[in-house]
Amino acid sequence: MNHTNIIGIYEDEDVLLKAMDEIQASDIKIKDVYSPIPLHGVFERLNLTTRLPYATFIYGVIGTISVFAFLYWTSVISYPLKFGGKPLNTLSFIIIMFVLTIFVGTLFTFLTYFIREKMYPGKQVTLPVPETTNDQFAILIEKTPDMTDTESNKINEVLKKTGAIEIKESEVNQE
């Protein structure tokens, strides 16, 4: 989808966070924030949450159950074979279940992360401000087609007032 973004570029994370407060106070919706480091203040202000931990938990549970099922099936049902007089369904399964639960949890969390982020090897992207991977922070505000000039001027003003070193508009083509 093609659309235009108004981008305010900042050079300091504390200035950025204060700016976000002011922008939100003047009823402007922040679309996204690009930064070289993770900022918890940004997550809070944009009300972002992730369900990744729940997914990991579910993978872990599935892992534990399926590993136990496999061990039980092989050792008790498919080919019951006594080792050292121990019961067929032994406690040492716990060790394998423990380790493989971590295996399943890790592998699938890793994959889920890339799938949810739509990331894959070789994906080509154009960053709105390439310097956000270095030392700049960018606030993106979407400029909708029905937005009047007064509204977009107001956005520009607020960005400038809050300490943006540069304000630009850009056509971004992603997602």
Binding site: Y34, I37, L48, L71, I95, L100, T106, T109, K123, T133
Partner: protein, 459 residues
């Protein structure tokens, strides 16, 4: 919160974010230095010698090694445990220090994790080659076969070992790689070379660095780290059970799992110290890996060394207190004294006594001495495994079957080969990957340093 007045400044040189990116990426863009080529040449030589040892073992058989009926486990298992131990530091470093919220880990964790990957790769070769018939290696996996199907013995610690180490390798790699993605993106956006842009672009998986991306990134890293933390403890516990579940005197003790885990972290931290001193010297990273960082590692080593010393004493005490003649013989007549006493005392000196010098601030501040001591720790930990494996096996219950063990040239070659593999891997890492986690250093930079001021007054 990090208080610079109490803890000191973490990153020196009054760096800005741009300085951090520039400094850390610099070695990747610079010309390959001469020392790199020289070391790589030597490491490749060692690797080729190892390949010869490997070839010799596979074509002739395990008889090429100095093993006999009694000492059926020699250098292969010693080196396996040694490498796995070294491989423990990376994850231990990143994850335990992450959980303890230690900010100084950010300059070191990337290199420590890289070391883990290559050390585990080196370790994994030994069980493989020790099978003799390497082409039957897949027997270890429970696969559908025509013999029943007959499954593995899931009660065997050797099977647990396979499961644990492959899991550990996968988990460490996932954790390491996910951490590097934002840094690859930084290189992608900064490099002038088209080829580099393509390669690092591909490796950065299309990283954007937007708010949601960072949130998921942080959550994923924390989850992977949280899951790998118990793995660090379990992997080496399982390795220790390769020994501890047997009835061989000297192995059959309950102290083994914690003793091995601590030993692994000890040797791993020792190797981290060795590598960090080399890295900061060669790449002039003294502002990032400061004397304070090395001091912190040295302090941890002092503490772990005390635990090691305690473990050695406990072993001797338990041998006496158990009243078992075999235990007492193994410890008193075959380790403390006897034909292998040199190995025992080297182990004790290097692991429990020499690191105690770190109590003195003067010694912790002298990087040359610290470097030499870190090498001693690596040697000491190798001898610990030698003492455990060889002394217990060489003289067991029946004096009629006592035998001595000496490695052959083939075993030495294989060991040298894994050393070459490890060094070559680390060199590749130095050359092509940002050796310090750029985004992580930036994220702790402001609160741990006085940053060049970017206040809004200037605009």
């Amino acid at each position: 919160m990090y208080n610079t007045r109490i803890r000191g400044i973490l990153i020196h040189g009054n760096k800005s974010y741009a300085d951090v990116s520039h400094d850390i990426i610099k070695p990747i863009n610079d010309k390959t230095p001469l020392w790199w080529w020289v070391t790589a040449f030597l490491a490749t030589g060692a690797l080729f010698w190892g390949v010869w040892g490997f070839y010799n073992t596979i074509t002739v058989g395990i008889g090429e090694w100095g093993l006999n009926n009694n000492v059926a486990w020699g250098w292969a298992i010693i080196n396996f445990v040694w490498w796995i131990g070294i491989g423990h530091a990376g994850t231990a470093f990143s994850i335990f220090l992450l959980i303890l919220r230690q900010k100084w880990r950010t300059s070191i964790n990337r290199a420590a994790e890289a070391m883990t990957i290559f050390a585990v790769m080196a370790a994994g070769l030994f069980p493989l080659i020790h099978m003799g018939r390497i082409w039957d290696g897949f027997f270890i996996f429970p696969y559908w076969n025509t013999r029943g199907p007959l499954w593995d013995n899931f009660n065997s610690p050797l099977f647990w070992d396979v499961v644990a180490i492959s899991t550990y390798f996968m988990a460490s790699f996932a954790f390491w790689y996910i951490g590097m993605i934002p840094d690859f993106a930084t290189i992608r956006e900064r490099t002038a070379s088209k080829i580099k842009k393509k390669i690092y672009g591909a490796m950065s998986f299309g990283w954007l660095g937007n708010a949601r991306g960072w949130l998921r990134f942080e959550t994923a890293a924390l989850l992977l780290g949280g899951m790998a933390a118990p793995l660090v403890v379990s992997v080496h516990s399982i390795v220790s059970m390769d020994f501890a579940v047997s009835i061989v005197p000297g192995w059959h003790t309950t102290i083994f799992p914690p003793y091995f885990v601590i030993g692994a972290i000890f040797s791993g931290f020792g190797m981290v110290l060795t590598l960090m001193i080399v890295m900061r010297k060669m790449y002039k990273f003294k502002d990032y890996v400061t004397d304070g960082h090395l001091d912190a590692i040295a302090r941890i080593l002092t503490f772990i060394s005390l635990i090691m010393g305690t473990a050695y004493m406990i072993e001797l005490f338990t041998a006496w207190y158990s009243g078992s003649e075999y235990e007492l013989f193994t410890f008193m007549k075959n380790r403390v004294t006897g034909p292998y006493q040199f190995a025992y005392w080297t182990m004790l000196t290097c692991n429990a006594i020499i690191p105690q010098l770190f109590w003195f601030k003067k010694i912790r501040k002298n990087i040359t001495i610290v470097f030499i001591m870190s090498i001693f720790i690596n040697i000491g930990m190798w001898f610990e495994r030698y003492v455990i494996v060889v002394t217990s096996l060489s003289r067991d219950f029946l004096p009629a079957s006592w035998a001595t063990y000496e490695p052959t040239i083939t075993e030495i070659a294989v060991y040298a080969g894994t050393m070459g593999l490890f060094i070559l891997g680390v060199l590749m890492f130095f050359r092509f990957v940002p050796t310090i986690a750029i985004s992580e250093v930036k994220s702790v930079l402001k609160e741990t340093t006085t940053l060049k001021s970017f206040t809004d007054e200037s605009h």
